[in-house]
């Protein structure tokens, strides 16, 4: 006995991709070690999962250390995810630390018209990102306001995920659910909700 996916079943899946009814969102997160980038990727995946979707969260594992630029990934799909390779053409890029922009090309591979979220306290030069739908949020301030600190440094994952909900990638109630599952504390939920309100499109 051998389990088999018939050509017909698989073809209907290809049709769904062509018709655009099969939605796959690939997200890349740029952060620095210790800011909570890996956890943010997981939180997004859990939120999508709570919405009834398939999702995976991963990171590029190398020599992690506090302060070094790190990259994490989330894949969200209506169907089982069979891709295990790295995300090269993301639909959405999240920059948790604006200083990373000087160190790496954060929009590399980002699809034209793709969504870009930047955590910043300053105004962003919109011309630089004119091909994309750019959102900003001051996640660092929100984190400090809510005293979300680990080892003295602000942890950004909770407000960042709240801001991602504003971009329409996951729903706010799912974000709330994901936070309560991972870090059951109303303060975290409140911080995400403030970030949702504050996040704005350029």
């Amino acid at each position: 006995m051998v389990w088999s996916v018939s050509a017909k079943e698989a073809a209907s899946e290809s049709d769904a991709v062509r018709a655009g009814t099969r939605r796959v969102i690939e997200i890349r997160l740029h952060s620095r070690g210790g800011q909570g980038g890996v956890t943010a990727a997981k939180m997004l995946a859990v939120a999508a999962f709570l919405e009834g979707k398939y999702s995976t969260a991963s990171s590029f594992y190398g020599a992690e250390r506090r302060g070094a630029p790190t990259v994490s990934f989330t894949r969200i799909s209506d169907h089982e995810i069979r891709k295990y390779s790295q995300i090269r053409r993301p639909d959405c890029v999240i920059v948790m630390d604006p200083t990373v922009i000087d160190a790496v090309d954060v929009t590399e591979g980002l699809k034209p018209g793709g969504k870009l979220l930047i955590n910043t306290e300053n105004n962003i030069d919109a011309d630089k990102f004119e091909d994309y739908e750019v959102y900003t949020v001051n996640a660092t301030k929100i984190s400090l306001d809510f005293d979300l600190k680990v080892a003295g440094a602000p942890v950004l994952n909770v407000p960042i995920v709240g801001a991602v909900a504003k971009m329409g990638i996951v729903r706010l109630d799912a974000v709330r659910g994901a936070i309560l599952k991972m870090f059951p504390n109303e303060k975290n939920v409140a911080a995400a909700e403030v970030a949702y309100k504050m996040a704005a499109m350029l």
Partner: protein, 385 residues
């Protein structure tokens, strides 16, 4: 199918394996941490510490000792689990062979990782494939759910009276061990019914004293090996039976040979692990362009599944492409050479292309696989070279 409350969690591949082991309730766990496997033994240690799992957890100073402790415990009739990866696996090599020749149903998770030097912690199958001839049943998984489900099934297969052989469950380092996916949990009561209590017939026993592992003369040694092979062959049927029983309680279907769009395929891609799933994505794209291509994924390398021969005889494919994430220097892709040998046995002389990809964690996107599949050149190709 039994109606049951299904619980879903969102975990890494490592935690999924640890959760499966917790359900199997081994009497003894002896393990040494090593990246990328460490989380498995960490989570198990936490279960034991909290009292959720009543196993004897033996902290050892090396992997050689871990396997030696597993052998000792299983020789006394215990259900035993350990986990390892790469250099740790190689370090326990001597004991690995001992476990299988002694017919001890030890279950081990191996998180596949490349070998140094040029220190590399990422995925490659060579650590397991280097132990291809060690007499262990070898499963290769391709999702977090599959790693969990296969670990659950591994205990039943290993401990089956007709098998009594150590069994390893492979999951690729980082791509499975550290990625998080939703995981459907198996109900504890249903699993207790699925996995009978362990009974090792030749275990040491105070009432009926005997010795294990003493000198064995040339008149008998080959018989032990003959017997081992017989049990390994029998394991093929036991695995199929176990997979059908597992399907009854979970609804999830696993078979030694997993086919994807193979029925009318002129080109058949043969692979193991996550690269086979990535190949399915490439296959869909090529099908959209009119190529008749399918993917055949092998879930077990030992015993080499009989179902493979049955399928290859039946399917119309004229061209075979084999993806290998492990290489035998001076010979070829390890899976490719195994497949070629099977094809020869079947009298099938067809075009075979061997792709070497994903060594040392090399990222292999489906777009690259698509190009490699379309390259009509036969022989051996190294992706990226």
């Amino acid at each position: 199918m039994r109606e049951m409350q299904e619980e879903v969690v969102f975990v890494t591949g490592n935690e999924a394996v640890a959760r499966a082991v917790k359900l199997a309730k081994p009497n003894v766990i002896a393990a040494y941490p090593i990246t990328p496997q460490t989380e498995i033994v960490e989570v198990l240690a936490r279960y034991v510490e909290s009292g959720e799992l009543r196993s004897e957890y033996i902290h050892v100073e090396s992997e050689h000792s871990a396997m030696a402790a597993c052998i000792g415990a299983a020789s006394m009739g215990a259900r035993v689990f350990t986990a390892t990866a790469a250099h740790g696996f190689l370090y326990m090599c001597e004991m690995i062979f001992w476990a299988s020749i002694a017919r001890l149903p030890i279950v081990m998770a191996n998180v596949n990782r490349a070998l140094a030097p040029g220190w590399n912690i990422w995925a490659e199958l060579k650590d397991a494939m280097a132990h291809r001839d060690a007499g262990w049943i070898q499963f290769y998984t391709a999702s977090i759910q599959e790693a969990y489900d296969t670990t659950l099934m591994a205990f039943r297969v290993a401990e089956d009276r007709r098998v009594m052989l150590p069994t390893m469950v492979n999951l690729e380092g980082f791509v499975l061990s550290h990625v998080m996916q939703p995981l459907r949990l198996v109900d504890e009561a249903a699993y207790d019914e699925f996995l009978p209590p362990v009974r090792i017939p030749h275990a040491l026993n105070f009432e009926r004293p005997h010795t294990l592992g003493t000198l064995i003369s040339p008149e008998h040694n080959f018989l032990v090996q003959y017997d081992n092979n017989k049990c390994m062959r029998a394991a093929d049927d036991v695995i199929a039976e176990t997979e059908r029983e597992f399907e009854k309680i979970t609804g999830r279907r696993y078979r030694a040979v997993m086919k994807y769009r193979c029925e009318d395929a002129e080109t058949l891609v043969i692979a193991m692990g996550t690269l086979a799933r990535e190949a399915e994505v490439a296959c869909d794209s090529l099908r959209d362009k009119g190529e008749k291509i399918g993917v055949l994924r092998l879930r077990q390398l030992r015993p080499f599944p009989k179902a493979f021969a049955e399928e290859v005889k039946r399917l119309p494919a004229e061209r075979f492409i084999i993806i290998d994430r492990a290489y035998s220097s001076g010979y070829g892709g390890i899976l490719a050479e195994e497949v070629k040998a099977r094809l020869y046995d079947l009298g099938i002389i067809k075009e075979v292309k061997s792709i070497i990809a994903g060594l040392g964690g090399q990222d292999v996107p489906h777009e690259a696989l698509e190009k490699l599949f379309m390259d009509k050149q036969g022989g051996e190709t190294w992706y990226g070279v």
